[in-house]
Amino acid sequence: MRLAEHKYRTTSGIAGQLLNVENVHAARIGEVVKVIGPHGDMIEGEILEIVNGNILIQLFGETRGLNTQNMEIVFTDVIRQVPLARDILGRRFNGSFEPLDGLPMFYASESRPARGYPINPVARLRPEEFIETGISTIDGLNTLVKGQKLPIFSCAGLPAKELVAQILQNARLRESSKKFAVIFVALGLTFHEYSFYLEALQNIESEFAAFINMADDPVMERLMAPRFALTVAEYLAFDHDMDILVLITDMTNYCDALREISNARKELPGRRGYPGYMYSDLASLYERAGRIRSSQGSITMIPVITMPEDDITHPIPDLTGYITEGQIVLSRELHQQGVFPPVDVLPSLSRLMQKGIGADRTREDHRDLANMLYKHYAKGRELKKLEAIVGRDGMAEADRLFLEFATVFENEFVYQGAEARSIYKTLDKGLEILERFDLLPDNLKKNDRNRTL
């Protein structure tokens, strides 16, 4: 710790959001600095690089109007901290953690560094508790569990936000717990999207906190907001034993901001101009989801990604898919057919599903049923390609049955409109469709008789 505050007036250059200061005696990487402008206005910044006494600072606010001559740089000797308190729930903040709801800032009971510390892998608890989202394609075929990170891969123009709103409305843990809260992080959202989400949030029963970075807010805040939100989530989940659902939209804007900042720092660009460390950077956010042994709480994360050019191999969805535990992929084709939610079941996946379903979690027949539905639908979809070549009339009777099955599956199982389906309803729906096509194996039939209503 330094004994006195350090102030400098030795700015040697400003370029975009980057500031150079000379002849500094003491500085730390990541240290927060305050830049006081000629009119007493203040911008915060963070130390990026130290070369002898020359310091490179990343600024977080608007730099227009700054002038190297008359500004003062205060070195605070602290790493960026996040103020924390239970009172954070019910509040809205911007990407610099300033209240947006007109109320004064809450009193912090403690503070922690925004970038957090990695969870020790031995301290992790395996995620395995089922979360009901009310969406058949998720609950039935790509089950979400507490502590999982499951992104939604969307395309421009697809109703991702409607799907997310529906999940928010219906999401509940099987043993309904009162200690459930949502942390909403908006990154680079347009006003239109923002107001949609806000309305959806205000309609849910659970408490929530929001971090809002709008499309015209500083780009640097887009990188900070999710870190604030996740530090808050860790505090609520692991100190207050709450189940926290973190919803981040849109991670594509986050990655673009990362590219912009990296480029301004003159770093080497990687694929499509994104920095080579994007994988590690994304992991430093996504990996904060999970459960730990020393707490009852959990962090479940649903990031939304808009795939540029509908391309799942684009670096953003690609690197995300390598870190997250599965993905829910939306399909333009289904959307055009009027199917809502337009979830394409085939490329979608939940890696933690196996542990979250079955007799003591959802229902005994869940696994077999899900496999059966998936298998027949995959076959039907495969045959659709053939149909395009030879036409339906040129196909064998048995093949036509699977084509028909795929269509019914899309229109009745995938399609659910605004309806909220319980897991039992979802599974019964699947059983019913399989039965209609006489595709139900005997072991499932028996279950059916025992279970139905």
Binding site: R28, V51, P121, Q148, Y279, G321, Q327, L346, P347
Partner: protein, 541 residues
């Protein structure tokens, strides 16, 4: 040998630090800053030294102290490694959790091994015997194993005193006449391959229990397989399934830049599953080296060297070792990040130009060897690769293709149709198949090779017929071809596909033979009948 020198931090850029110390040596281990972060010397300059810090550097300050240790970054080797989970710098994660709780804070831990734990030592040499590096001076019973204690490198002399019975690692086990002491553990610089008497060509297979691998694309003991695949193709599940069932003595599992939840799942399963060969929990034959994607990147780079050094150590004790690394791409990315922070000239896709040579010298550390003490030990590797966008033309996959012996290509299309393991049988290959043919013929079945080529032939035919069938439908095919299609489908769903969640997860080679024989028998019978018929037809016309 030990010199301690102190300098100051002059420059910090990410995890790359420059100090004014000039008497350090390349790859020397250093302590950086007031928190004693672990670092390594990566570049020597006229008026200073460039260091790579292996822990989170945030908060590191200008003019904070830098200390040289006089030794390289080293791996600690000895009894007590098994069933422990280490991070990339070989810090036991359990001990870290005791100190810093559920989250990892940068802190200094003294040793990778518990030096105070009591072991029972049985000596194999007596007073007056001459001991040189690599000689077994005795052994310690550890779990299901006898853990030999080797004289470390640089040792030569006559035994003056040797312990017997209960001992612990912090006390010397053996005193030599020239004053040197031998402990129960030793350290080895992780970036240097451990010595052996000679390398031997691989002869036998690693039985993975995966039918597609053992039967079609086998891995030799001492060989290297790579598993490249896009996300969702089941790399991790495949690696973990092999880690559970492979017929080796010791498994080193390196979780390099992957998910934390996967690791917690792995530990839980390994603790509860028994190794059928020793009836002890699987964990007792396993060492885990874990540097998840959110742990410091530079330590991720070091993690595979920690893992391979551990593997070589067990090889030198005369064990058959399998190193599984998931995933090498994350290691390569860490290398790229470090290289770019050192402002080196980038090569293809930003990777440093030494990527290929680093990878090949890493892969060369696998092999079957005659150890310094005259035993036979082996280190085999199965490395997963995560090519961006599932594109196999990228540098990491390409570099590994040149150095590894088997290529198990995971296919997104197969994975999407839930065919697991999603190993593409058309593109994958194993260079070990000819070497191993003899083994399988002798030990499993005489017609192993015959059925193997028949199986491949059917799958090749299916591939060719598929396109035709898409146009004319299965009814449009000739009877012979229809037979190929039905049998191929049987091979795919009943033989190549294998669940990782049921008892089928491990399939003994004999059972593998039975299954494929029953399917191909059907094919041969069908073909005979068919050719009989078509023969008649020809006569008629």
């Amino acid at each position: 040998m030990k010199k301690e020198t102190v300098g100051r931090i002059i420059t910090i850029s990410g995890a790359t630090v420059r100090t004014d110390l000039t008497n350090l040596t390349l790859f020397e281990r250093v302590s950086v800053g007031e928190n004693n972060l672990t670092g390594e010397v990566v570049k020597l300059e006229k008026d200073g030294t460039v260091l790579q810090v292996y822990e989170d550097p945030s908060g590191l300050g200008l003019y904070e102290p830098v200390k040289g240790h006089g030794v390289s970054l080293a791996t600690t080797l000895g009894p007590g490694l098994l069933s422990v989970m280490f991070d990339g710098l070989q810090r036991p994660l359990d001990a870290l959790a005791d100190k810093t709780g559920s989250f990892i804070h940068p802190i200094h831990l003294s040793s990778a091994l518990d030096l105070k734990k009591k072991w029972s030592f049985t000596k194999l040499v007596n007073n007056g015997d001459t001991v040189t590096a690599g000689v077994k001076i005795g052994y310690i019973n550890e779990g299901p194993f006898q853990h030999p204690i080797l004289a470390p490198a640089g040792i030569k002399g006559r035994v003056e005193e040797i312990a017997q019975g209960t001992t612990c690692l912090e006390e010397p086990i053996c005193f030599l006449d020239n004053g040197s002491k031998i402990f129960g553990y030793q350290t080895w610089p992780m970036r240097v391959p451990r010595p052996y008497k000679r390398k031997i060509s691989p002869r036998g297979p690693v039985i993975t229990g995966q039918r597609t691998i053992d039967f079609l694309f086998p891995l030799a003991r001492g060989g290297t397989s790579i598993i490249p695949g896009g996300f969702g193709t089941g790399k991790t599940i495949l690696e973990q399934t092999i880690a559970k069932h492979a017929d080796v003595d010791i498994v080193i599992y390196a979780g390099c830049g992957e998910r934390g939840n996967e690791m917690s799942e792995l530990i839980e399963e390994f603790l509860h599953l028994d190794d059928p060969r020793t009836n002890c929990p699987l964990m007792e034959r396993t060492v885990l080296v874990v540097n998840t994607s959110n742990m410091p990147v530079a330590a991720r780079e070091a993690s595979i060297y920690t893992a391979v050094t551990l593997g070589e150590y067990y090889r030198d004790l005369g064990f058959h070792v399998l190193l599984l690394a998931d995933s090498i791409s994350r290691w390569a990315e860490a290398l790229r990040e470090i290289s770019s922070s050192l402002e080196e000239m980038p090569g293809e896709e930003g990777y440093p130009t030494y990527l290929a040579s680093r990878l090949s010298s890493f892969v060369e550390r696998a092999g079957v060897v005659e150890t310094l003490s005259g035993d036979i030990g082996s280190l085999s590797m199965i490395l997963s690769v995560s090519p961006p966008g599932g594109d196999f033309t990228e540098p990491v996959t390409q570099a590994l293709l040149r150095t590894s012996g088997a290529f198990l290509m995971l296919d997104t299309t197969l994975a999407n149709s839930r065919h697991f393991p999603a190993i593409n049988w058309m593109q994958s290959y194993s260079l070990y198949q000819n070497i191993l043919a003899e083994y399988f013929k002798k030990n499993i079945s005489n017609d192993w090779e015959v059925l193997r080529s028949l199986c491949r032939e059917i799958m090749h035919k299916e591939e060719a017929l598929k396109e035709i069938m898409e146009i004319v439908g299965i009814e449009g095919l000739q009877e012979q071809d229809r037979l190929v299609m039905t049998v191929a489908e049987k091979i795919r769903s009943g033989f190549l596909a294998q669940s990782a969640y049921t008892e089928d997860a491990f399939c003994d080679p004999r059972k593998t033979m039975e299954i494929i024989r029953s399917i191909t028998d059907q094919f041969l019978k069908g073909r005979e009948q068919g050719s009989g018929k078509s023969g008649n037809e020809t006569r008629r016309t």
